[in-house]
């Protein structure tokens, strides 16, 4: 135990419960207004030396606090002793929700509180000044305190279902208050209204591990359930870093595009026009003169233009490396049809076709070509006597811009889903509120769940 804690927290005063005779320790040095017997749960007047019974109650220890009475821990720069514990609950749509509150005491600082719900913890301090009431853009109630605007989260009647230890007010089992919570994560302003008074307190979210460390509780805390109203959004949920990365990588891709475009050879290695007679018999295939493809691996752009008139031609091509015997087979088809139909002229297809052959190693190559077209018959045979002229052009290493824009699209693709993570976190936070959706939710999401506004 911290020696400093021994110094500032005096030894408890021992008394006996007038209801059941059990020993009662008073830790708050007369600062507490009531004390609840840990054995019979009777509420006693702590300001009276005879411990007058305020409320008789026969109960058993049905709730086991995480922090036992008398345990001490350092939070917010001071050492606190747990002197009281209560469980409170609200009923929403027929379902009971319970949370637990611990009364902390320091003789120099006074009282503070720890609240715990589903393993989410908040350090709570009473505030002396009244917050200023208002409304937000969606006409929901807000309160402003110390320049921070808090959005209304929930209002419900809270009742005390279990108490033990000392309290700075005259606590009673079954007492009810109207509790209203306003949040601005990680803070919360809460009001508790009875028929006599309104009290305000300010809470701040504390990770469970900090509580475990402060009070030296062995083991690890149970994992929190769900998203709590004051729970800070994890960095990943509110981070704008992915957008920053997107812009950095987009610029990188554009830089890469410029770099490869400026170093591209764009060298025309073959540009020949050939004639093909469809009516001719014999071997149609032939090879071109040899040409050099410079560089290591790069693409080769092949463009074919056919001087066609209501005809088609298919050119089978093989780019053959004269040194290695490696061949790259491909084909291009050009066709062009036109006519008049119902008084309207029409055209179909194109006399041009092109392809880019990827990753062709450098070396000495030649091109084997084998043209073919529809075999001429009947009247068409006479027309087909006219040779078909076609041009083949090969360009080594042409820039390819599309891939970089595709890359930018790929970079963009996950971002909307990453943005949804933050939205999902806020949706989970506000799911338990009186509104169901966050105050800044966009219209389309509110239409499905914001019925009560």
């Amino acid at each position: 135990m911290n020696p400093a804690a021994r110094k500032i927290v005096p030894r408890p005063k021992a008394l006996n419960c007038p209801q059941c005779g059990a020993a009662i320790e008073l830790r708050a040095m007369g600062a507490a207004a009531s004390v609840v017997c840990g054995y019979c749960a009777s509420t006693l007047d702590a300001t009276n030396p005879q411990l007058v019974i305020l409320q008789r109650w026969k109960a058993k220890m049905t709730v086991q606090p995480f922090l036992p009475l008398g345990s001490r821990g350092k939070l917010a720069g001071a050492i606190w002793e747990v002197i009281g514990f209560q469980q409170r609950g609200i009923q929403v749509e027929g379902t009971d929700y319970y949370w637990r509150e611990y009364v902390l005491f320091n003789p120099y600082k006074g009282f503070r509180y720890l609240s715990e719900y589903d393993n989410h913890w908040n350090f709570v301090t009473a505030i002396p000044s009244l917050p200023v009431a208002g409304t937000n853009a969606r006409n929901r109630p807000t309160v402003t305190h110390d320049g921070i605007v808090y959005d209304h989260f929930q209002t419900a009647r809270a009742s005390t279902s279990f108490v033990i230890g000392e309290f700075p007010w005259q606590v009673k089992m079954g007492e009810t208050v109207e509790a209203a919570d306003y949040v601005s994560p990680p803070h919360m302003l809460s009001s508790e209204t009875t028929k006599d008074e309104v009290t305000w307190s300010k809470g701040e979210y504390v990770p469970a591990q900090d509580i475990w460390t402060a009070f030296q509780i062995p083991g690890a805390p149970p994992p929190p359930v769900g998203v709590y109203s004051t729970q800070p959004a994890p960095p990943a949920a509110k981070s704008t870093r992915p957008w920053g990365l997107f812009f950095v990588f987009s610029l990188l891709l554009l830089g890469m595009m410029i770099f490869f475009a400026t170093r591209a050879l764009q060298e025309t290695v073959l540009n020949e026009t050939y004639t093909f007679n469809p009516a001719a018999t014999g071997e149609k295939s032939f090879v071109t003169r040899p040409f050099v493809l410079r560089g290591a691996k790069a693409n080769v752009h092949v463009a074919v233009h056919g001087d066609l008139d209501n005809a088609w031609a298919f050119i089978s091509m093989a780019l053959i490396n004269e040194e290695t015997g490696e061949a790259f087979d491909f084909g291009r088809q050009v066709s062009y049809y036109h006519g008049v139909d119902g008084g309207e002229s029409w055209t179909e297809d194109s006399r041009d076709d092109a392809a880019t052959l990827p990753s062709i190693p450098g070396g000495l190559y030649y091109l084997r070509l084998e043209p073919e077209t529809e075999a001429p018959t009947g009247a068409a045979a006479a027309l087909a006597q006219r040779p078909i002229r076609y041009n083949v052009q090969l360009v080594r290493d042409v820039p390819f811009y599309f891939r970089y824009f595709l890359g930018i699209f790929l970079l963009l693709l996950p971002l909307p889903f990453m943005g949804r993570k933050g939205a999902n976190f806020e949706a989970l936070r506000w799911h338990e509120s009186d509104y169901g959706v966050p105050p800044n939710a966009i219209a389309w999401s509110s239409s499905s769940g914001d019925d009560d506004e």
Partner: protein
């Protein structure tokens, strides 16, 4: 999540850089190895895979 996106972006950029270096792009061909040198003098001795494929017959 940002780290995952960083890795993803690096893979996209790395892939594009590699494709820029190697001349990779969309497009296909059939790669045939061991084409005899005699094809240079006798083109008919080599038959392209595409030579026997189906053709489109256009026109109305």
């Amino acid at each position: 999540m940002s780290k995952l996106y960083l890795v993803y972006s690096a893979l996209v950029a790395g892939g594009l850089f590699y494709s820029g270096l190697t001349g990779w792009s969309f497009g296909s061909y059939d790669e045939v190895k061991g084409v005899p040198k005699s094809v240079r003098d006798n083109p008919g001795a080599y038959r392209s895979h595409y030579a026997s494929s189906a053709r489109y017959f256009g026109g109305k």
